[in-house]
């Protein structure tokens, strides 16, 4: 990719993506029944 500065913008967007993942996904996917399925 040759667009100047695209990488920094991309990186910031990517950081926001991962921050959103660690903030919101565990609220849905946290396993509250640990050990039950064994």
């Amino acid at each position: 990719m040759e667009i100047p500065g695209w990488q920094s913008v991309f990186t910031v967007l990517a950081i926001i993506y991962f921050a959103a993942i660690v903030t919101f996904v565990p609220k849905v996917l946290t396993d509250k029944s640990e050990g039950e399925h064994h």
Binding site: M1, S8, I15, V22, P26
Partner: protein, 728 residues
């Protein structure tokens, strides 16, 4: 293969000297050292051939690719053994050497038969490694692991055999077309932890003892990556799967707090880079994928060794409880930083070199979306390792500072060797590049190639410092894809029921329209007339019903497939036709399996005969009256029965249509259980030590399970060959 045998021999020696720790540990060091030197001295172009049961096997084949993978496999075997000198569990040494030997066997194999044998040995040995942790959790994790891997091995085998039917050769080579390609993709993909088939990996690696996870982090997935280079290079599906692996796994990784689990997700993610590069398939892609395999083995084993060191000293491996190790464990801290920089692709460290090749390969190969996904994963990797190093090692934590001390010298030396090689590759990539399968002349370090990673490093450092709290680890279990399978599994009873209903409806129509009228028409005319009327009045309805049947007949393959799926879904597990061989009340798995096959024979037979009759006699558009007349005339019934017999015999007759065969197979399985396993347990002392207590657990039915899986796979094969016309 000779190198593989060397390790297998080593594992037997360890067993012999299991009570003499010094000799045992010396063996674990000498064998990898000797094999490393041997691999380095081995020239390319060796083909060691053998003939077994009229099959031409190439049990050892060397070229640049297999040697390159051989170098790193044996190097890391040595450092792993050095690191594990303080491991007092001889079983880990035995299974570990078997496991490494099996991986080397796969790498240097020139034919798929040899590959398959070592592939399965690898699965068994790594399961045993998980079981070296004697907890209940490890037991169940191991069970799930072995089931997954036997399925994967089976799919791979089906791919190999279809490829053999198509090409007449078992030689290792590209298998990227049609059904064979699809099966190999899935079979090898399971070992490479393709998303959807990956949940065994982050579950099992943190469960195995740390000495074992260091080995496991290296061999299974990388052997699979090697096999993908051989079989599936250049498949776009592989490239996309790689990119998805890189992003999905890193997204899961940033949410983890258990150190080894976080690292395990990064294995999936980094293997994604390799898989993507192999899928891109140009020369630079293959070079990048293979170099990334080399680099990843270095930094990932160093990361596992570092968290292992922290675990060894503090007894903790959760990032929420670690930290405070910087002052007391300076060497380990430096090593973990080197490893973190390497995996993040910071210039001057090894990960940079291969990632550069992979990004360029994707860009020049015209796969920009893949490149972008991999760039996204690179950001996640950076964040994840900032988190890993900061929370795991650097941040202050007085509790750990009080107990921490540097790990013993051999562990430090092992980590130092791996770290040194990581930096060496980072500083002098051109030297390593000479060993790659294709010529690599473009310089690794230019202003252009450095721009991206440096920008990334700066922006993410600032972001992490500003938002450390966001990425702070929390102790919790994030649900995985296997929950999806469990959920789907819970749906199965409903599918059974629905399928049973459909079947009942079919049987109702079948008996009412075909059998009963035949009887009644000769005995009870009034009823027959009534039925005739019903048939006439439902002419339109029948027309509707017949259309799909005709369609199915025209598409016999699809029809057979439906029969197959239906057979699996609806056949009840109880009500055995064959009396259970064990004389007990519960039918064994084999018996149940055979019942399914017998029932399948019935089902497919009935349906085929109806369809055949309808289509043969061209009544598909006829009236109900015509239908019944034609169907019940002797002219119709005879060819119909013949057709039924043909289909049933082809599909199931030779295999298990008769109870006799069913009993024979159960008897063989029982004999195998009794003679091999019991014999091993009661008689042959060596094998007793070898499988120990686990064999007793196997005896309770795992061998039958294994037989079941094999029969399942064989039946898939027969099915595929029968529809492909290769079986008649």
């Amino acid at each position: 293969m000779p190198y593989g045998l060397l390790f297998i021999l080593g594992s037997i020696l360890v067993l012999v000297f299991k009570d003499k720790p010094t000799i045992r540990k010396a063996i674990t060091l000498v064998v990898p050292a000797v094999s490393f030197i041997a691999v380095v001295l081995t020239p390319k172009g060796i083909d060691f051939k053998m003939t077994l049961m009229s099959l031409n096997l190439v049990v050892m084949h060397t070229d640049k690719l297999s040697l390159f993978v051989g170098y790193i496999f044996t190097f890391i075997a040595f450092t792993g053994a050095l690191y594990s000198l303080y491991n007092d569990d001889y079983r880990i040494s035995i299974y570990g050497m078997l496991y490494i030997g099996a991986s080397l066997g796969v790498v240097f194999a020139g034919d798929f038969i040899t590959v398959y044998l070592f592939w399965e040995l690898m699965a068994l040995a790594s399961t045993a490694l998980i079981w070296c942790n004697r907890s209940k959790k490890a037991y169940w994790t191991g069970i799930r692991y072995i089931i997954m891997h036997l399925m994967g091995g089976g799919l791979f085998l089906v791919g190999m055999v279809i490829n053999y039917v198509n090409t007449g050769s078992f030689l290792v080579g590209p298998v990227n077309q049609g059904l064979a390609g699809a099966f190999v993709f899935l079979g090898v993909g399971l070992n490479a932890a393709f998303i959807g088939l990956h949940s065994w990996l982050p579950e099992s690696y943190p469960t195995a003892p740390i000495w074992a996870s260091i080995l496991m982090s290296v061999y299974t997935t990388k052997t699979a990556v090697y096999m993908l280079v051989r079989t599936s290079a250049g498949m776009p599906a592989v490239a996309w799967m790689g990119a998805i692996m890189a992003v999905v796994a890193v997204s899961f990784a940033v949410m983890q707090s258990n150190g080894r689990k976080l690292l395990s997700y990064h294995i999936v993610s980094q293997v994604g880079y390799m898989v993507a590069a192999i899928g891109v398939g140009n020369e630079m892609g293959i070079n990048g994928g293979v170099l990334h395999l080399f680099n990843h083995i270095l930094y990932k084993s160093l990361l596992f060794m570092s968290i292992g060191a922290a675990l060894y000293v503090t007894g903790k491996e959760d990032l929420t409880e670690l930290g405070g190790l910087r002052k007391k464990m300076p060497f380990t801290t430096i090593f973990v930083i080197i490893a973190a920089f390497s995996i993040s692709g910071v210039p001057l460290f090894n990960g940079f070199t291969s990632k550069k090749l992979i990004f360029e390969a994707a860009a020049t190969g015209g796969m920009v979306p893949i490149e972008l996904l991999l760039e996204l994963a690179a950001v996640g990797t950076f964040i994840s390792f900032f988190k890993f190093v900061w929370f795991g090692f650097l941040r202050p934590n007085p509790e750990n500072e009080a107990i921490a001390k540097e790990v013993p010298v051999p562990m430090r030396v092992a980590m130092g060797m791996v770290a040194a090689l990581s930096i060496f590759v980072g500083l002098f990539p051109q030297i390593i590049a000479k060993l790659l399968p294709y010529v690599e002349e473009e310089p690794f370090y230019t202003v252009k190639t450095l721009q991206g990673p440096i920008q990334l490093l700066v922006v993410i450092t600032i972001a992490f410092i500003l938002f450390t709290k966001v990425f702070e680890p929390h102790k919790r279990t994030i649900m995985e894809f296997d929950r999806l399978y469990i959920g789907l599994g819970r749906l199965i009873p409903y599918v059974f029921r629905a399928s049973q209903k459909i079947d009942d409806a079919f049987n109702y129509v079948y008996h009412r329209i075909i059998y009963i009228p035949e009887l009644l028409s000769t005995v009870f005319d009034p009823v027959n007339n009534w039925l005739e009327r019903v048939l006439e009045s439902s002419e339109k309805l029948l027309d509707l019903a017949i259309k799909p049947i005709r369609y199915m007949n025209e598409n016999l393959n699809t029809f057979l497939l439906i029969g197959w799926v239906d057979f699996w879904l609806y056949t009840p597990l109880s009500e055995p036709k064959i009396s259970p061989y064990n004389g007990g009340n519960t039918p064994g798995l084999i018996t149940r399996m055979l019942n399914r096959i017998l029932k399948f024979g019935d089902t497919i037979g009935h349906r085929t005969s109806v369809t055949a009759a309808l289509v043969e006699k061209k009544v598909v558009n006829g009236t109900g009256e015509q239908l019944s007349k034609i169907l019940f005339s002797p002219d119709t019934v005879a060819p119909l029965m013949e057709f039924e017999h043909k289909v049933v015999d082809t599909l199931t007759g030779d295999f298990a249509a008769k109870a006799f065969y069913g009993n024979a197979i159960s008897n063989v399985a029982r004999l195998f259980d009794r003679i091999v396993i019991d014999g091993a347990i009661n008689g042959v002392a060596a094998i007793v030590f070898f499988f120990g207590e686990r064999a007793r657990r196997i005896q309770t039915g795992l061998v039958q399970n294994y037989a079941l899986i094999i029969i399942f796979i064989v039946s898939i094969l027969i099915f595929i060959l029968s529809i492909k016309g290769g079986y008649s």
